[in-house]
Subunit: 219 residues, 6 copies
């Protein structure tokens, strides 16, 4: 199993890909809360609600964010999501979290959140982080962060984190959506199912088609 896939499986829980979720500026709340009813057969923008009389305190609770994730994969990084899929009470509330663990030289590779800004706090270690503005500048803003540093990745922009240190690193990041979504650039382009035509990618990246195919084989 490919290394980046491990990271993506975790990230995928974050995304609830193509299914249900939240956004950077979720629609306004119309009652005290609307806890996700995961048994419902009805599908709406976000999730339908449980009967408020059946809501319990555990609907607003998650345990285990102090536990390190397993970073033994090719990217050396893993994302533990805490969004509406893990805490049903987040439905309609427009916010969520992730914990990210990085082995030395571990990477959370370039990606976007289509529905969310991110604000990241370094809990342990040393990270190089960056984001790139949209066309035509594609300006890179990059900084080295240490324990207790906080950094903001504006909504929709490509960004990454890389563990520059010799020790493990840990971050907690908040996202302005109950279901921010993740699009890892390399995976969306080289790992789509079915594959994007090699001719198209070769032209887009100005590389030989066989280079494209060898990259696609990794995903």
């Amino acid at each position: 199993m490919g290394a980046m896939r491990v990271l993506l499986l975790a990230a995928a829980l974050l995304a609830l890909a193509c299914s249900h979720g939240a956004t950077a500026s979720d629609p306004s709340l119309l009652q005290d809360f609307c806890v996700a009813d995961k048994m419902s057969q009805v599908r709406v923008n976000g999730l339908p609600c449980k009967d408020p009389k059946e809501v319990v305190v555990e609907d607003f609770f998650f345990s285990g964010l102090h536990v390190a994730g397993n970073t033994t994969n090719k990217q050396g990084g893993v994302v533990t999501p805490v969004n509406v899929a893990q805490i049903g009470g987040l439905n309609t509330l427009g916010i969520s979290l992730v914990r990210i663990d990085y082995a030395p030289s571990g990477l959370n590779p370039p990606h976007t959140h289509p529905r969310s800004t991110e604000i990241l706090t370094v809990i342990e270690g040393c990270l190089e982080v960056g984001f790139v503005t949209s066309n035509p500048e594609n300006k890179l803003f990059t900084k080295v962060l240490n324990k207790g540093d906080v950094f903001v990745f504006p909504k929709g922009l490509v960004h990454y984190q890389f563990n520059k240190g010799a020790a493990n690193a840990v971050a907690i990041a908040a996202l302005s959506s109950q279901n921010p979504g993740v699009i890892t650039v390399a995976n969306a382009v080289f790992g789509a199912e079915p594959s994007i035509s090699g001719d198209i990618i070769a032209k887009a990246f100005q590389v030989e088609k066989n280079t494209v195919e060898s990259i696609q084989a990794q995903f």
Copy 2:
């Protein structure tokens, strides 16, 4: 200087009271970012933006969230805010953070965020947390949290955290607004400037007027 005031001074930076700020579902972003221009004389909903050519990486950065706050005050708690007042790049992005330190028996007293949901992670220690639903139920949802536990306080509802443990406790909380605002219930009612009439408070709380006045004297 009164004890609760200490907590409030910190919380006040969070609130940017009556001035400028953000909300639980901020208006949508109309460009990659709109970093707050703190020199501007113009006042708008939120803050005007810097010239994007003058934006630097530090506009998205804050340092020091690993440093414990000083809890030597009557409530035994202190809030360190990281919102648009501290990180100008958060303007228009709809999210912010706080670090909260609690001495043993320290309290973050009952309050609301008029413009934000909160998702709190316990970094150290043991907290009793709770929120109360709106009228007429006024149902209390309460839980004891330990390290690594995450809890959600829905937007606009009265909530609190109390350090049940013998040791210090620390939490990091994310809020769905660049400027969530804080209304500490006791302060808004008993500590307003000028004071709310004692007759009104006495009737509202069904207590003697001199009890009201002795409480007001604390604030």
Copy 3:
């Protein structure tokens, strides 16, 4: 039966507590109207819609706002709500009303609307009104209103009205939500079910625990 409870029962209809409702800036309308289907078993943010072919003019209608409410309760005030619970056609439309009756010295005690701004018109009598800004200023804005006066209470802030006159007073207030919600401060703190720990309230209000308990006994 406690006096404040009477006011709250009326207010509660306003809140549709923790159940279904609206907000200060409701999500945008996606069709001409979406009249609440009160028979539906489905729960969503707000309410599901009736078949538009079954919508009748009465779905947009309410009768009786000229009828005085019964103010014979401890607070001497009563709220008659006209929101999505009374007019199903308000679903998705982002506005509602209340009529408030005040006996002489009657009080609508300090409360917030978590999802709504309020604009109040005095129909009869003389009211002292006020609202308090968020931390740290907690500045009180207060004014005496007479017949034909209009006053605005910004979204989420603590506010109250008190009948200063010797005669009954009546107001009509509009709220920027189909289900604005009401949090009466005294009830949320001293009347929560189950109770908030007396130790916590005592510390928050800087009073003796037995004072807290005697207040809690009123609710």
Copy 4:
């Protein structure tokens, strides 16, 4: 001076036509309040804010809604607006009011609010009210209202009120915008400045061009 124009002058204050204002679901609030700074030279979506230190209680206040408007005009109706133009504190808060006076047989002619739902309360008298759905049904919902009756006109739909009674009638209506705007159908089509071509109107209404011109002459 034409009769409908009198009604329109009042209504125009409501509209702040093409200038500054609010909407049915105004952008979210980013601070406790953003009182309109009417001296500012800066123009934004809505209005720029006053320095919060200079905000006074009168910024949230309007007086005189109990005073009858002058209905001696061709339509026999007059609108007294209370929106962000009258109460600067309504800026960013998403709500406003009007008082409407109707002489016997007085009419508030068919119009839309492009940015607002309306909820109307009859204070005195007897009104026939109606609204029409969008194409292709163009279904009329109509009802006779008496004192204390409340009725909802959904956002953007054509609606009217007509005084059926022998006495004056009065209503207070709330609108889900700080600046809802008014488009009186007859005026927009027959009274535009400069005029819409008579050929176009004749074709649209399937009438002779000289009929169009005689109607245009009234406006």
Copy 5:
């Protein structure tokens, strides 16, 4: 069958009148997409979603916008809609299209979109277009457009297009809503079902009642 009705039947598909749809600024997306489930019995603001596993590429596709509509009707114009009724994948995405065909002297009569701004491109021919601001100015902005010209009609304002040329004209317009709605002024006022009272219309338009009745007979 009346001529304007033909145009309206097409426009009606655009409106999904009073039923289901979208808006100029639809509520934010909470997942990658929420393709309309047209088999669902549940009604919500917008439409419920299909199971994402059953979504196919055709859900994002429509064919035939190059085909001219039939303009043989009294107005000499016809609208071909491409909104959420035609492309289920547009649900929650806040945008749609129309193709408009105009015979020589063909007219798209004065109308509003209650939930949408419109941006129109002339593909062929020559159009006079106009929109009218709200009260009290009712200012007409008008321009003659030729092939390749683009024009904007702001949300909620009355607007029209008229084919000034000797040849057919074609435009494609985009609307900022999945279901913008159409209110043709003449139809809403003179063609409502049931009819608006002739007395009311006569007073609103300052014409004789029998003129009103002869216009109503056309619709």
Copy 6:
């Protein structure tokens, strides 16, 4: 000058990168219109408005969308934007357009719009189009489009168009934002200024560092 840069220069006008603009669901309109004042020194979310008295019909107008763009560049494609930078009247209105020209085998390479959904109409020729869902599925939805076909690319997802035909192709696309922004994946990752570290990209794409450097040299 690199080939993709030509396409990007055009696209960049679309993006108004990091400067001023609009979004997929722009904040609600607070007046009839707020035409961008391009002379203003004030910067806000979006753009400040011109004095409405100085607004002219040309503020809502653009000419030349029938003119083919120059596709003689490496990608064989060019984007002609029509957004708030070209039509100041689009400010606050939440919609814009582009014309896209494709030489045979011309490509609009994989990119996202961080603030917009796109709905594309083929005017001439034959295009293969596709979009990829977010993690973990990264499912490709792809289709061959011909003249008159319409296709939707949901907000924030990676998508592309490729001219499969032997002739030129032309499309007009509408976007749900006054300033949708464009992030061309290859440019954001391989063409950022300054460059993203080769080590990071090599790890993200699972390629040799010298392969990364040879790709970076193209941008």
